[in-house]
């Protein structure tokens, strides 16, 4: 079979005819695993579900934990909070704020969420900053600095700063600290990105701004910088009630597997991630092939990025080439609104892999752990925060290590189940939205000097 013709399940491919279906090569030429039913996924994003209320979390974390949140919020009821970021939709920060802000308000901690505005030139500069802060090459120009400061100044003039607490998310609005008044309000900078290896010029520009805040928050100790202000650790979080993480009906999970041609009578190993070299999908296939000499299994590679990102399409083609005509390698190119399908794929898996070579926090690991799955993760970025080696999952550093762990976990199901059990508890303890709410309440108390700290 010509690998160019190898079919992936590419749902909602905008470049193809209006399709809710698999874009596929000739049915007659397709190998058995490719004669799949056509998954029914909308070509447009569905309307968002209404956000959960606090009581909805009781079955997940228990009444005592909800009572604790309410107790911690009690002293903050007369306080006001403003959260500011750079986008209302898309991206992990907006996703978290969409859940966090309603919960804080339900707890009667009056929390506003405002979004800064800027022209294309501003977002080009901040995208460059973002990549540079992740360590990419960057030429910091005087013009870029002026654009950054001009838009920050415009937003500063436009917005009011009358609250008790200000939480500024990420570098884009960091310049709002210029509105700080002496002895009034507390300012917190929440950095969601990995600053372990920033471009020195860009960080040299931002650092004096950051050090005017009262505190900074990082997602992992390894992402932080040496700063003159206190630094706090807030892990990113998942929402156990979101479409990506809520419990699903067994019949729905089966339907998704049937649609995608996944045989649930045999082991399923899955990696969910964009078709991006940093996620090492090719390495995952190589590991699967090594493991398959000893254990029977299917490999599911599901993700997006191949439709809207030219490099993603190239990586997807590489992945298909490496997969060859193996009918047990199932490659799914999904649209961004496939949360339920991703949930079903993770839930149906025997092992979930996140074999990244470079990673941010890698919340797909927490998603899989929450579903009680044994996870094999690359020891990079925030993954070691989620996987304690051999206790809540296994960490690997090579294709060979990944292959060995696939073999080991599939042949030691009791050990694998124990990892999954521990992993779910680890997520419950550290990576749920409710834990995140608690951290905010504690930090606000500490910042306002109303700490009940022992």
């Amino acid at each position: 079979m010509n690998q160019k013709d190898r079919k992936t399940t590419s749902v909602a491919d905008q470049s193809a005819a209006p399709t809710e279906e698999i874009s596929m090569a000739s049915e007659s030429q397709a190998p058995p695993a490719e004669r799949r039913r056509r998954p029914r996924i909308s070509t447009t994003p569905p309307a968002p579900a209404p956000p959960p209320v606090l009581d909805d979390y009781e079955p997940v974390i228990g009444r005592t934990q909800l009572d604790e949140l309410r107790y911690l919020a009690r002293g903050l009821r007369t306080k006001t909070v403003k959260m500011v970021n750079s986008t209302a939709v898309g991206g992990g920060v907006a996703e978290i704020l969409n859940r966090l802000v309603p919960l804080m308000n339900e707890l009667e901690v009056l929390t506003k969420w405002e979004v800064i505005t800027g022209g294309n030139d501003f977002y080009e500069v901040t995208k460059g900053f973002h990549n540079a802060l992740h360590g990419a090459e960057y030429q910091l120009s005087k013009e870029a600095l002026e654009i950054f400061m001009t838009y920050n100044e415009q937003n500063r003039q436009r917005m009011e700063f009358a609250e008790d607490l200000f939480v500024i998310h990420d570098p884009q609005p960091a310049g709002l600290i210029g509105s700080r008044e002496p002895n009034r309000g507390r300012w917190i900078w929440r950095c969601h990105i990995d600053l372990s290896n920033p471009h020195p010029d860009v960080w040299g520009f931002l650092r004096p701004m950051v050090e005017q805040y009262d505190a900074a928050i990082f997602s992992s100790p390894s992402f932080a910088r040496q700063l003159a202000i206190p630094q706090y650790l807030f892990y990113p979080c998942i929402d156990p009630l979101s479409e990506k993480n809520k419990d699903l009906e067994a019949s729905y999970i089966q339907k998704v597997c049937d649609d995608f041609g996944i045989d649930r009578t045999r082991p399923v190993v899955t990696q969910i991630s964009r078709f991006d070299r940093l996620k090492d999908p090719v390495g995952v296939i190589q590991a699967y092939k090594m493991a398959k000499k000893y254990v029977d299994c299917q490999l599911v590679l599901a993700g997006g990025g191949a439709t809207d990102d030219p490099e993603g399409a190239v990586v997807l083609q590489e992945v298909m080439d490496v997969a060859g005509d193996d009918p047990d390698v199932i490659i799914l190119n999904l649209p961004p609104w496939s949360a339920l399908e991703i949930n079903a794929l993770q839930t149906a898996s025997d092992i979930v892999i996140q074999k990244s070579i470079k990673e941010g926090f890698g919340l797909t690991v927490a998603e899989a752990l929450w579903k009680g799955k044994p996870v094999i993760g690359g020891a990079v970025g925030g993954i070691p925060n989620q996987i304690i080696h051999k206790l809540t999952g296994v960490l690997v550093h090579s294709v060979e290590g990944c292959a060995y762990q696939i073999r080991y976990l599939l042949t030691h199901p009791k050990f694998a189940a124990g990892l999954g059990r521990n992993g779910r508890e680890h997520v419950k303890e550290n990576f749920l939205i409710t834990t995140n709410v608690k951290r905010w309440l504690l930090l606000f108390e500490a910042m306002l000097g109303m700490s009940r700290a022992a």
Partner: protein, 237 residues
């Protein structure tokens, strides 16, 4: 197992001189400046970090990893094992039982002593690069009252079953640092307010390193219910 000789009388109807108020605790994590890439740097960190960092990596980490039944003792031992591959050092650090310490200073001295002795016997280990850095954190503790209180053993058992595992950790493990005694809040209340010294002693001997905090809760309840001649409950009750 030897049975506990209890004072005469019906324990179920005995009233405590003062009630037991169940509290809980919440923790805010700070990232400190100190980090270590080698055991030499790790030793300096152990010697210089604030007390609340030693607390975080020993006492508090037990709560954060409360679900692990075996193979986890404290962050220092885990790092020595997983990132430095110094198995002997890891074993020695893991053998430190926080319940034997009533002050952070004495715990710190013990940890420093273990690392110093190991490096003296294994000089090449001093500067060997760890696979992952150790990042020192610290923990700010916030006490959170609960609505639960007990005036007698049945109410006490009821409370133990309802409180969060954070409350169990606060009263049963953290208490040592507050009390400056090798004891816990539960045992002290039983002894001082209900004159149940032997029962108190039995609770204090529950092993926290081979149990999850849910196991600890189960053991507490099991011992107390047996003392009240109640039939044992199923583990999920």
């Amino acid at each position: 197992m030897a049975s506990v000789a209890l004072p005469e009388g019906n324990l179920r109807s005995r009233w405590a001189r003062a009630p037991f108020y169940f509290n809980s605790a919440a923790h805010l994590l700070r990232i400190l400046r100190q980090q270590a890439s080698t055991l030499d740097e790790f030793l300096v960190g152990l010697q210089t970090v604030p007390d609340d960092s030693i607390f975080e990596h020993t006492f508090q980490t037990l709560q954060e990893h409360h679900f692990i039944r075996e193979g986890f003792s404290n962050d220092f031992a885990h790092w020595a094992f997983a990132s430095c591959n110094e198995i002997e050092l890891a074993e020695r650090l893991a053998g430190v039982d926080v319940r034997e310490f009533t002050s952070i200073q004495s715990l710190r001295d013990t940890l420093v002593g273990i690392v110093e002795a190991y490096l003296k016997a294994n000089p090449p280990a001093r500067e060997r690069q760890a696979r992952e850095k150790f990042y020192f954190r610290a923990s700010d503790t916030f006490v959170v009252p609960t609505p639960l209180m007990a005036r007698n053993l049945p109410e006490f058992v009821d409370g133990l079953q309802k409180v969060s595992i954070y409350s169990i950790h606060y009263h049963f493990i953290d208490a040592r640092l507050r009390l400056k005694l090798a004891n816990n809040d539960f045992s002290i209340w039983l002894e001082e307010e209900l004159d149940l010294g032997q029962l108190a002693d039995r609770l204090n001997r529950i092993d926290i390193y081979t149990s999850t905090l849910q196991d600890v809760r189960y053991s507490l309840v099991h011992i107390l219910e047996a003392a009240m001649d109640r039939p044992p409950r199923s583990r999920t009750a």
